[in-house]
Amino acid sequence: MWKWLHPYANPEVSYHFTGKLIPWFSAISVILLVFGLGLALAFSPADYQQGESVRIFYLHVPAAMLSMGIYLGMAIAALTALVWQMKLAEASIAALAPIGATFTAIALLTGAAWGKPMWGTWWIWDARLTSELILLFLYLGVIALQNAFEDKSLAGKAASVLAIVGVVNLPIIHYSVEWWNTLHQGATVSKFEKPSMSTDMFIPFIVCFFGFSFLVARIFGERFRAEIIARNSMRPWVKTLVLEQEKTNGV
């Protein structure tokens, strides 16, 4: 049943397969982001309470959702790396952590820039904001561990353990607005009922969300390929690739 997956556990096959997908991810993300951010900035309506500041929402919420989604993906890769000793899973942890950290930083900064005019403060040590800040530190911890060891497989193991332990933070972030009293509002999109917003705001949001998701896929693809090469630099197929590339570039 899982036989079709096996070839993709081969680093060389994965490297070339990812390379084929990257231009598609790029094109889709550019189209969706131009369309989505255009709608978000110029065509979506102003909020009846928050005015034009609501346009920060189209960055803040996709970035926050992706910061958690990427972490979940990284933790699943970490589990795969530890249990099945899959080297490609270690490469994907290393590729995902900087992307997740970037989106967490975006979620935090856009949140602060939205909080100042709406709540009257850039920052408050409440549950949602603090747990999202901890998520940033978890990402930075994974990146630091990844670079702390000369031996890549030891580094991958250490980073995997931290990534898995950190998963406990995800439900805390998600439910923080229900469990504790907080300035942060409850969920508008990621809940089981219908999203509580009008269609002309939901459409730009969802287009932006998928646009950013494809951007993540594209950046992940590039970093994943680089990590595969770095981890397989002694293999003959990498040597051939390097020599071929030298020939086409004409040194």
Binding site: L37, L41, A42, F43, S44, P45, A46, G51, E52, S53, R55, I56, L59, H60, A63, P98, I99, T102, A105, I106, L109, T110, A113, W114, K116, P117, L215, I219, E222, R223, R225, A226, I229, A230, S233, V238, K239, V242, L243, Q245, E246
Partner: protein, 69 residues
Amino acid sequence: MAFDSLREFFNMGGYAFYVWLSYGFSALVLIILAINSNGMEKQIFQQIKQRLKREEKLKQAALRRKEGK
């Protein structure tokens, strides 16, 4: 269109600083991440190339030493 003029668009109903700070910061960090990710593979290729050259030199030197004896 939610705005009547370009000036109103840039003014963002008085929230210009916060809205453009958010969009500006997000664009900046994403561009840095994209450029960094784009250059990563080339950089690693370069390192491997240097290593291969070094190995080739060592091999040649070893061969010469053998012939010299």
